[in-house]
Symmetry: C2
C-alpha cells in the first residue's frame, strides 16, 4: 500500500465521519435462539419504553386500526454504534484499523517513518488519541482504501474473529445489545424491514451485519468513499477510491435514507445527537411514527454518558425528546440484560 496523502479536505471530512460515527462487529444470535426470541422482548423490563414500542407495533400492524401501515411501508431504521452495539472507549471501527495496521506493518517498511503508525505498533493509545481527528482519519484510511471488496472483507472477518475489547476482554461481536437483537426480530416478525443507518463505514458494516443482526447488505446505509470498476491484474473489479461519496451523519442521515431506502421510515432508533435529524425526518411524516433514543445510563453493566461525552454525545436530543414526543429508553431501568452472553 502506498503512503496516503491528505490533499483533499472533503476526503478528510468523510473519513473522519466514517471513523467518528458508528460501527464494528458482533456475532451471537444463532438461528435457534432467534426462534425462541421471536415475538418476544424478554430482555425489556415492563414499563413505558416496552409498552410504547409494543403499542406502536400493534396499532401499525392491526388492519382494523386507524393507524394501520401497509407492510411495504413499515420501515425501521437503526443507528449502529451506541444503539445496536457499544461504542466505548472508542468506535470499534478504530480497533479494526489498529488491528489491520499491526497485522500488515511488516509488509510495509515505508510505514517505519510514520510516527502515528509507530504509536500503534507500540500500543501507545495516548499518542493515538492525541493525534486528533486527522490522525484517526489517517489510521482508518490505511485500513480501508486501495483494496478490492474481497480483500477488505477478509481483513474485517479476521478482526471479528480475533480482536478483543480493550476493557471487557469480550469479542466485539459479543458487545451487541441483546434487547436490540430482540427488537429487530420482533419488528421483522411484524412485517417491518429493518435498516442500519450509521455514520460508520458502509463496507465495514456490510461484512458482518447480516450474520450479526440479520440485516442484509442492501439494508445497510453508512458513510462511504467512492468506488470504481477497473482492471486490476487483468480482471475488472470494484476498487475503493479515496474520494467522498456520502457522510451519513447528522443531516446526512435523512439524505442517506432518501438515497438508499427511498422511503421515509416510521420508526427510528438512535443514541446521539448525530441521530437527531434521522429521528426528526422519521417523525415528521403524515402518518404514525416513533422516534426512540437509547440513553446510556448504566455505568455498571455498560457505560454511562450523554451530554458531556465526545463519543455518542447526546444533548439536544435529551432536551427536545419530550417536546417532540420521542421515547427515551433508559438502559439501566428498561433493559434486564445488556449483552447476549451476560
Amino acid at each position: 500500500m502506498k503512503k496516503i496523502k491528505f490533499s483533499l479536505l472533503p476526503l478528510a471530512v468523510i473519513l473522519f465521519s466514517i471513523f467518528s460515527c458508528q460501527n464494528s462487529g458482533i456475532e451471537s444470535n444463532d438461528s435457534s435462539s432467534e426462534e425462541i426470541l421471536k415475538n418476544e422482548l424478554i430482555s425489556w423490563n415492563d414499563g413505558v419504553a416496552k409498552n410504547t414500542i409494543q403499542e406502536f407495533v400493534q396499532k401499525t400492524t392491526n388492519p382494523q386500526s386507524p393507524d394501520f401501515i401497509p407492510e411495504g411501508d413499515r420501515i425501521a431504521v437503526f443507528d449502529n454504534d451506541g444503539t445496536l452495539w457499544a461504542e466505548k472507549p472508542y468506535y470499534f471501527q478504530l480497533d479494526y484499523a489498529l488491528f489491520f495496521i499491526k497485522k500488515e506493518a511488516s509488509k510495509h517498511p515505508e510505514w517505519n517513518e510514520n510516527e502515528l503508525i509507530q504509536a500503534v505498533l507500540a500500543d501507545d493509545m495516548k499518542t493515538i488519541m492525541a493525534s486528533g481527528e486527522h490522525g484517526l482519519i489517517e489510521l482508518v484510511m490505511y485500513s480501508h482504501s486501495g483494496m478490492s471488496e474481497d480483500e477488505f472483507s477478509s481483513h474485517v472477518r479476521e478482526w471479528l474473529n480475533e480482536a478483543k475489547h480493550p476493557q471487557t476482554g469480550m469479542k466485539f461481536t459479543d458487545m451487541v445489545y441483546q434487547p436490540m437483537l430482540e427488537l429487530l426480530d420482533y419488528l421483522r416478525s411484524h412485517g417491518y424491514k429493518t435498516f442500519i443507518v450509521s455514520g460508520g463505514g458502509i463496507d465495514f458494516l456490510r461484512v458482518w451485519a447480516e450474520e450479526v443482526y440479520g440485516i442484509p447488505p442492501y439494508q445497510v446505509v453508512g458513510s462511504s468513499i467512492k468506488a470504481a470498476y477497473q482492471e486490476v491484474n487483468g480482471k475488472n473489479v470494484i476498487v475503493k477510491i479515496p474520494e467522498l461519496n456520502l457522510i451519513n451523519d447528522k443531516a446526512g442521515k435523512p439524505v442517506g435514507i432518501h438515497q438508499y431506502i427511498g422511503k421515509r421510515p416510521i420508526m427510528a432508533f438512535g443514541n446521539s445527537d448525530g441521530d437527531f435529524q434521522m429521528l426528526e425526518y422519521t417523525t415528521s411524516g403524515k402518518g404514525p411514527s416513533l422516534g426512540v433514543y437509547i440513553h446510556h445510563t448504566d455505568a455498571e453493566r455498560e457505560f454511562a454518558y450523554d451530554s458531556l461525552s465526545s463519543i455518542g454525545n447526546l444533548k439536544r436530543g435529551l432536551i427536545e425528546a419530550p417536546i417532540r414526543n420521542w421515547l427515551v429508553v433508559d438502559m439501566a431501568r428498561d433493559w434486564s440484560l445488556i449483552y447476549p452472553t451476560n
Copy 2:
C-alpha cells in the same frame, strides 16, 4: 422554478445519463394475476432461453445441488428500459419531462423566451430531438430539480395516469414486458431478491417500481443527483440539488451495485451495451452465475433494433455473449406475449 444554468459539465453528464439510460412507468399485474403466474413462465416459449433460466434457478435453489446458493445470496439485477419495459422511440422518462413542462408552463412566464420549451409546447419533436444531449438534459432538468420528494412523486404519478405512448397510444405502464413480469415473480418465489439497476433516474423509478414490478424503492438502483436535508417553509425536507451523485450506466452499474446492494449478483438481465459491465461483473464471481441479454428482434409486436440504434445500442454484447456464455433471449422467438394486455 428558476431558469437552470449549465455551468457544470459533470451535471450535464449525469443528467444526460439520467435521461439516456433507462426508465419510466407501467401498471398491470394485480395480485390475483400474480398468484396465477407464480412459478410459471407461461409467456416464454419452450426452448433454450426458458430452459437455461429454469435450469439455473433449479440448480441454485436445490440444496442437494453442488451449485446451491443460500437464499441471502440469490441476487438478480435487471436493467429497466428495454429490459423490463419498452424504450422506443425515446426513453419514456423524456415523455415525463415533456408532460411536466406542458403542464407547468403557464406558471412559468420566464419559460416564454426558451426556444426549446416553446418547441415542447408546440409538440415540435424534430426540434426537441435535434437539440441533442444538451437540450434533452435541459428538459429532464426542468422536470426534476428544485422539488421536494413529495412534489416530484405526485407529478410522476399524474403522468403515469394520463400519458400515452406516442406510437402505440398505450399507457406507458402497459408497455412492460409480460414475460419479464413472470420472470420477476418466478425468481422471487424461488427466494431470489430482484433489483432494478438502471441508468435512469432513481427517484423517477421509485415512484412506480413497487406497484408495477413489485420492487420496493430500496431495491432500485439508478442514476441520481444529490440531495440535501434543509429547511423549506419552516420545515426540514429532502430537496434535490443539481449536482452529480452517481451515473449508473456502463462501468457505473457495477459501482451502483456495489454501493447500493453490496453483494455481487448471480443473475443479470440487460438489453444494451450499457449493461455489459453489469453482466460482466455478475458473471465473474466464484460460484454459478447467469448473464442474459434481451434482444429486440420483434418489429411486428414491439421494436427491432440492436447495433445500429442510438437508444439501446447492443453491439459488443452480441459479439461477446457466446464467448462469455451469456444467454441471448430472442424476443420474437422466445416470447409468446410482449405486453400484458396484448
